[in-house]
Symmetry: none
Subunit: 203 residues, 4 copies
């Protein structure tokens, strides 16, 4: 029992090592230029070891994205658990998002391109990674529309996409250029929320 679970735990550790290295290199060089060999080396394993944990390069990439998405989704739900109003939930979503991106720049670098890669490469479009996040945001928008402070004329899916893209856009600029740090996280949050809520407010 214990022996088995230790084995299991070790396996997870190795997997995590590889994912971490992959995250770093995919962010640094992009999907195509990052090589499995380099990832393995950075993770301090042999090339072949990667294939004991992931079917192929695409699988590694997807697992990486999905793992992080799950983390992020967990944060969202956790941060929201004690909150009542949909407005507060959206506020929490934006704050958690900004914080997560700040702490996980490599991941952000990768996700920033995800939209299109997933469009252009059939292989990845099968597993729409961002979907879960989008669904979550859409549900928040719908709640907000019920509560009456987001206008019902907006397609909740579209409104959700817009909120997400604002979050991405602001993060991109914020994280890319170190200098822009004149605004702190809270100010970024307020700016996004200000524009979004005013923009979609029910009159």
């Amino acid at each position: 029992m214990i022996a088995l679970s230790r084995k299991e735990r070790d396996r997870k550790l190795r997997r995590a090592d590889i994912l971490k290295a992959a995250e770093h290199l995919f962010a640094l060089k992009g999907y195509h230029k990052a090589t499995i060999r380099d990832i393995a080396k950075e993770a301090q394993y042999a090339t072949g070891t990667v294939y004991l944990h992931f079917k192929d390069k695409g699988d590694l990439y997807l697992a990486l994205l999905e793992g992080r998405i799950k983390d992020l989704l967990g944060l969202f739900k956790e941060g929201v658990s004690s909150l009542q109003s949909p407005r507060q939930k959206i506020e929490a979503f934006v704050r958690e998002g900004l914080e997560f991106f700040e702490k996980n720049r490599d991941f952000f670098q990768i996700i920033a391109s995800e939209d299109v890669e997933s469009l252009s490469e059939k292989r990845f479009s099968v597993s729409p990674v961002g979907r879960q996040i989008k669904d979550y945001v859409v549900s928040l928008v719908k709640e907000s529309q019920k509560s009456g402070f987001i206008d019902k004329k907006y397609d909740p899916f579209q409104a959700g996409e817009i909120l997400i893209s604002m979050l991405k856009t602001v993060s991109m600029e914020w994280l890319q250029k170190e200098k822009n740090k004149k605004m702190n996280l809270e100010q970024q949050q307020n700016m996004i929320l200000g524009i979004f809520f005013n923009g979609v407010a029910a009159k």
Copy 2:
């Protein structure tokens, strides 16, 4: 004289053939998976012919982006020429953008990923292609702030980025899923402008 200009014209036609094929394949498969051979084949030329017009694959890609950006910028400035108020100019910007993306889906597909490619690959970051568009939008935002209907508290650069990202996001959704055609171009335009202007309005 005439012979020379015909030669020149032929040369441009061939170049355009190749650019068109490249646009299609880059959109379909992405920069790395699209091969020069396939592009040449689609354009009905031999592989080597591509290299008579473009130094290498990166040069072809850049020429493609730059050409289209120039087209788009031309449209913007043309569509705006008779307009006075900055508000109308922004409206024109959004309309022209949506129209252009609708007519040039392949290009849209490519541009949608540009942000990131340019981040990760040094080679392209040299020539920040989208920069000109961004500068143009920023100038519109600044005008609007002077006119007083966009709040001066917003960083015009950031506000511009947000407007562009809304345009991209909405276009993406609109163009990706044919079904969503329940909304026409004008409705998309109104939605974007509604949210943006309300969002950033001076109180």
Copy 3:
């Protein structure tokens, strides 16, 4: 320990296989017409394997030359170790050279063209492979001048070059045309030495 050294030994064996095939093909077809694919095939490896041992084609070529030069220089110094007089050393040099060329025809074929390749291709001129041999011969000439049986009026560098070129010329003829075997190695040696020593003798 043993496992490690066996691995190391295997590595060297493979490297030697490839060098041998390269030597054969470079000699047969010349640097440019010999392809990596053919070299790999002759060595019974896949194309990519060559690149596990050599950075690129130029590196392979250089490694080949340098390895052989080292062998040859080793032979010279070994053959000379028990000898006292500079005259005997030069005699040994010529004999070892003829023997080595006879046993390593492929290498000879390659070296015979080295002069020019190194002139025209910047890439190779960096590492002037023959330089060590030349330096060695020059030192022998200088010793001979001190001993008084080579006239001091000759530039030792030039005299050395001439001796080497005689060795090459005679070898070329001797090895090229099988028929010329009427003269054996010793006769060739005597002819070269006869002309050289008489030619440069101090009066």
Copy 4:
């Protein structure tokens, strides 16, 4: 008649233009790296024009060598016409050779590699370009042996080869390094002849 001969003359001029450009580029970059396109450009013709005068790249190369060899052979015979003794003829050969190489460095650069290229590439070995020169020198050696001042024990062919290789070697050094100009042409000539005649002298 006249029109025809002018045409013929023009044709020869074009041919000469191309040969000159080819000589320059083959010397500069070597046979493989020099491209027909570059040669045509340097000669101020279109690529295809080269093929109106030469069957292919190899043919151009050979024609170049053969033309120059013929020039050189002409010089030898001319310089020798008024001379009686074989010794003087060999002296003239060396002087003319040095002079010709000095005036035709590009050609020298090319010829210096000829030996081997012709060995390794079947296509060129068919037409042994240097053969005529060699035959000429051999005939001089034979005369000298008859006259009694070159020892009859030497194979005249081999002795000739050695004389030629000395000429090449000395020229190479002399022309390669500008600095070495401390010795003038006459001194080079005397050195070569000194060594050669002493070396092969009949006792």
